[in-house]
Symmetry: C2
Subunit: 408 residues, 2 copies
C-alpha cells in the first residue's frame, strides 16, 4: 500500500515528538507500506516567524512573508528525515519546489495547480521514505508560496491524490472528528466515518480538524482520509465517500462558530443593481460575507442582513454606511455578539422535517432565531451569542444522543 | 555603481539590527548605486539549528543538515527584504536555487560551480534591491547545499564577480583587517589596504575575518572587497590587487593559530612510497595536514613531523601508530600544546633576510622554534603554546611598529 501520513504541529512540537513520529513511520514501513510523510512546522513556529515579520514591517509583503514562514516546515522536514535515518530508515526530505507542488501566486493563500510526483515515486521505488514540507508550494516564477492556515492538510491530500495513495492519514492532537465540540458537549463522541460533504460543512462551520480545501481535494479525487491522533494507536475517523448506511441517522454533527458578526442595511430601495452596490465595496475590501438574508417589504424597500467575520465588523460597517448614504438607504445597524449554530448530516436528504424540529427545539428553550440558512445537508441559524452553548447541547441531545440509529 | 553588500550574523542579530542594516542599504541606493545584498543567518541561529540536528540524530545526514541550516539565511533574507520595503525601498529576497547558485554535492562544504545572475540583473534594472540568502546553493539534483562556515562571504564575492560589481562590501562586527589580533596585541592597527595574497595567508592562518574561499574568488575575478563594520560609518580595509607601494613594508600582519597539534613518526624507513603510506590513512579520515617536515638521517631512517587540527589529534595518533607498526617505524610522539605564529607580507619578496631576522627575534626571547614553513610572502613557525603571546607581540613590535614605512 501507498500511504501518505501527515503530522501536524503538536505532533512534531519538539525533538522528542519528532523521534516518536519517526517510530510510527518506521512501523508503517516495516508493515510493508510505501510511505510519504508530510509535516507541518513545529507548534508555535509559524506564529514566531509571523511575529518576526510584523516586528520588522508594519505591513509585511506577502511574498516575503511566505518565504519566511515556509522555513518552519523545511526545518521539520529535515529533522524528521534525520530522525528516520537515525532509526535506520532510509529517508529524504523535499520542499515544495523540489517535488514539485506548483501553485498560483496568491501568496499566503495559494492554490495548488499541479503536483508532480515522479520524484516521490522514485524515492519510494528505492525503498526510502519521502518527507515533504507541507503548507508550501512554488509559483510559476519560482517564488515560494504558502497555502494558508492548515495548508499542510491540503499538501497531504493533494500528494495522496497524485500518488493514487490507498490512504491519507492526518495525525493531529485529537482522536478524530466528533459529533460536536467535546469541550462544550461532554457527551460528544467520535465518529467512525463521515462523508466528504458532511466534513466540508463541518470544516467550514468552525470545526477546525481539517482545512476545507483538503476535504474538497479528497472528495474530488476520492482519497480516503483517516483523521487520528499521533498520541495514541486508536482508530480515528474515516472521511470517505457517502454510502447508504450514513443516511440512517439524520444528523451527524452539531457545529458552532462564534467568530461572526451581523450587519443590517435598513430600508434599501428595492431596485435592480442595489445588492451589487452594497456588496461590491465589501468584496473589494476582501471581507468574506457568509449568510445573506433579504426581506422585501411592501413599501418598495428591503432590509439586507448578512454576517461577516467578527474581525472585519468595523471595517464593513464603515463601508456600508457610506454605501447607505449613496443609495438612499435609511442606515446601518449591527450586532457583534452573535453565533452561528448548525446541524449537518447527509441523512437530511431523506429525513423530512429536520428543520422544523430544529426550530421547535430552539424555541422550546426560548432561543430566538435571528437568521436561517440551509443547504441540502445542513441547517444553520444565527442566535444571540449567549445562547451558543445551550443551543449546541440541546440540539446534540435531541438529534444525536436521542437518535434511533448511531453512525458507525 | 553596482555594489554587493554582505551582512554577517552579528549585523543582522535581531529585528532592530536588520532595520538598521536596511537603513544603510537604503542610503547606498539613494546615493545612486544598484545594490545586491547577501545576508547570513541571525547570530546564533546556525548553531541552534545544528543543535536541533544533533539532538535528533546521533550522526546527522549531511544533505538533511544542509536543508535544515539553510533556513537560517532564508529567514534573514526575507526579513531584510521586509525591512527594506517597510522603509519604502523596493526589494525582493532570493534563495540559492532561485538565482541560481549552483554547487557540487559536497553537503556542508559545497563549492560553487556556476552562478547565474540574469534574475538579479533584471531586479536591479527594475530599480529594486535584491536580497540573497548567503551560505547556500543548489546542486545538480536540486538539493540544497551549504558552503561551510563563513560561506556567505563566498556567496557575496561570487555574486560580485558574476555581476562584475564595482565593490563587494563585507559588513562585520570589526572595523576591518588588523595587523594582528587586537585582543592580543593592543597596538595592532587597522590596515587600509591588503593584497589578496596577504589576505589569503592571513585567513588561512587563523584570522577569521573572511572565509578563505571568498578571498580566492575575489583574487581570481579581481573583485575589490571592502571589509568594514556595520556598527559604524568608518572606512574599513580594502582587500585589493597588489601594487608596488604595498612592498614598501616587509610585513603586513602577524597571525597565530592555537588550534594545531604536532605529531612525529620516529625513524621511518627511508623508502619510496613510505610517505604515502603514512599520510594515506590520515587523508582518508578527512584530517587536514598542515605543515610537514621530513628530516632524513644518516642511518637510512627519517623523522616525519607534521601538524593537524587539535581536535583530530587523538584520531590521527591512533592511525599513525597502526601505520608505524606496519612500515617498521620506531613509534609515534606528539604534542598538543603548540601554536603556529606567522608573519605575512608581499614585501618579503623584495626585502631580504626577513626569515633570519624573525628567528633572531624569537631566539632573543628564548623561544624555541620547533618547525618552520615558508611561502613567498609568509613565514610560519611552530612554537610551544605558552610562548604564543610573547612571540606575536615581539614580532609585531619589530616588524610593524618599528618598521620604517607604514602600509597605507
Amino acid at each position: 500500500m501507498v500511504v501518505v501520513q501527515k503530522f501536524g504541529g503538536t505532533s512534531v512540537a519538539d525533538v522528542e515528538r519528532i523521534r516518536s513520529v519517526a517510530g510510527r513511520i518506521a512501523r508503517a514501513r516495516a508493515a510493508g507500506h510505501q510511505v510519504v510523510v508530510v509535516v507541518s512546522a513545529m507548534a508555535g513556529e509559524t506564529n514566531r516567524l509571523l511575529a518576526l515579520a510584523r516586528a520588522t514591517a508594519s505591513d509585511p509583503d506577502a511574498r516575503e512573508s511566505d518565504a519566511l514562514v515556509a522555513t518552519g516546515e523545511q526545518v521539520t522536514a529535515a529533522l524528521t528525515a534525520l530522525a528516520l535515518r537515525d532509526a535506520g530508515v532510509p529517508a529524504r526530505s523535499f520542499l515544495g519546489h523540489q517535488i514539485r507542488i506548483e501553485t498560483d501566486s496568491a501568496y499566503g493563500k495559494a492554490r495548488i495547480v499541479r503536483v508532480d510526483v515522479d520524484r516521490l515515486r522514485s524515492v519510494l521505488a528505492d525503498g526510502a521514505v519521502a518527507v515533504v514540507a507541507g503548507f508550501q508550494g512554488v509559483d510559476g516564477q519560482g517564488s515560494i508560496t504558502t497555502l494558508g492556515r492548515g495548508g499542510s492538510d491540503t499538501s497531504a491530500v493533494a500528494l495522496a491524490a497524485a500518488l493514487a495513495a490507498d490512504t491519507c492519514e492526518i495525525y493531529t492532537d485529537v482522536e478524530g472528528v466528533y459529533t460536536s465540540d467535546p469541550r462544550m458537549v461532554p457527551q460528544a463522541r467520535k465518529l467512525e466515518r463521515i462523508a466528504y460533504d458532511e466534513m466540508l460543512e463541518l470544516a467550514s462551520l468552525g470545526a477546525k480538524v481539517l482545512q476545507i480545501r483538503s476535504v474538497e481535494f479528497a472528495k474530488r479525487y476520492r482519497v480516503p482520509v483517516h483523521v487520528r491522533s499521533s498520541f495514541s494507536e486508536a482508530e480515528g475517523t474515516w472521511v470517505v465517500e457517502e454510502d447508504p448506511t450514513m443516511e440512517e441517522v439524520s444528523v451527524a454533527g452539531v457545529a458552532y462558530d462564534r467568530d461572526e458578526a451581523k450587519l443590517t442595511v435598513l430600508r434599501v430601495p428595492d431596485r435592480p443593481g442595489v445588492a451589487a452596490r452594497v456588496f461590491g465595496p465589501i468584496a473589494r475590501a476582501n471581507i468574506v460575507v457568509d449568510m445573506i438574508i433579504q426581506n422585501a417589504s411592501a413599501d418598495g424597500t428591503t432590509d439586507l442582513t448578512f454576517t461577516v467575520p467578527r474581525g472585519d465588523y468595523e471595517k464593513a460597517k464603515a463601508l456600508l454606511e457610506a454605501t447607505a448614504r449613496d443609495i438612499g438607504a435609511q442606515g446601518v445597524t449591527g450586532q457583534l455578539d452573535v453565533a452561528k449554530v448548525s446541524i449537518v448530516g447527509v441523512g437530511m436528504r431523506t429525513h423530512a422535517g429536520i428543520a422544523a424540529r430544529m426550530f421547535e427545539i430552539l424555541s422550546a428553550e426560548g432561543i430566538n432565531i435571528q437568521m436561517i440558512s440551509t443547504s441540502e445537508i445542513k441547517i444553520s441559524v444565527v442566535v444571540d451569542a449567549k445562547y451558543t452553548e445551550l443551543a449546541v447541547r440541546t440540539l446534540h441531545d435531541a438529534f444525536i444522543d436521542a437518535a434511533p440509529g448511531k453512525r458507525t
